[in-house]
Symmetry: C2
DNA sequence: TGACGATTACTAGCCAGGCTAGCGAAATGG
DNA sequence: CCATTTCGCTAGCCTGGCTAGTAATCGTCA
């Protein structure tokens, strides 16, 4: 472990008091976390919907782009909410003209959810530019440092996911 | 700009199809974002409180550690909720024994919020180990790559914060 | 010093977005 | 072909936000 270099008090602020690099790194992580949250809140507010609705929209569009179909059930599982709540969510998003419910071709119980042109263009308009600029920023990382950056983020994710004994499941729609 | 290398469709998936480094980097960012959100949800659920309450708790404790006093008003501003909602939040967190309301020494209208020993030890117990391991992970980043990592995260944060024309304000308590 | 606007926290009452329970219709397995 | 399971829906509840309005206190200025 070789943890402590300054004080024995495990309270965050003193751990890396004489390790400015480490402190700055974690500070940058925290700031990213915060502004990211704010950004999503802003965007969903700008589209007159809540964060969950925005996530749902992105999920449906992403699934369509990779050629997969989405049922109400998939959405519920991905969003981590009940199917009943997902019914309400679909009510909202179909009323607003972002999503469409269609009968499943071969399962009479199921509903297939698709996005409208309007939804796709709105998402593209709101997120496309930012996405492009994030890619630019990634390109600006020196080639020789890219592996280190990725490994750092992956290690953080592994640590965070494992903490609390939760399997690092990936949120894929069913095939 | 020199954006496109593959297709002109600005839909995210094709931008960096032949730039595996860039794609992997952004993928790592997205994963971090997701597991971080999940982690906070888990921890707050484990403490029988919601995300806002957890943020409030961390804020109060952090402020105390840097010797600052916190009023209900500061908390409301930091959390981005109304003072009325903050009243309810304080009701919850005082009822659960995490925070204490005390009269402000020189302003009869104000309330000074402090954390209990119980709250501090619970937060330390739940977050301390993870915090330590995040510091370890940061230490594992090769010294020569640390600047690049920090610059990457800062650039992302700048971009995200600026998008939507919001000033990159820092959430400090009043002095 | 006394009056008055500003500030602080609170109460009352509303609403959005989650939840569980339970239902009918369709699919599936024995 | 009947029993069980799955799917999405409705009904009704609860939490955690919100706004509006209030009482107490503070600060300022005539």
């Amino acid at each position: 472990m070789s943890l402590m270099t300054t004080r024995a008090i495990p309270d965050g602020h003193f751990w890396y008091a004489n390790e400015p690099d480490v402190r700055d790194l974690l500070q940058a992580v925290r700031r990213f976390r915060r502004v990211d949250e704010e950004m999503r809140r802003r965007i969903s507010a700008g589209m007159d919907m809540n964060l969950t609705d925005l996530r749902a929209l992105q999920y449906v569009i992403a699934a369509e782009e990779s050629g997969e179909t989405v049922q109400q059930h998939d959405l519920a599982r991905y969003l981590g909410i009940s199917t009943a709540s997902t019914t309400k969510l679909l009510d909202r998003l179909t009323a607003s003209g972002h999503l469409v419910r269609a009968p499943h071709p071969r399962d009479g119980r199921s509903v297939v959810v698709t996005s409208t042109d309007h939804a796709r263009s709105e998402i593209r308009e709101r997120l496309g530019r930012m996405h492009a600029r994030m890619a630019e920023i990634a390109r600006d990382v020196p080639v020789e440092a890219r592996a280190a950056v990725r490994e750092f983020l992956d290690a953080l994710s592994d640590q965070i996911a494992e903490e609390g004994h939760v399997a690092p499941l990936s949120p894929r729609p069913h095939g």
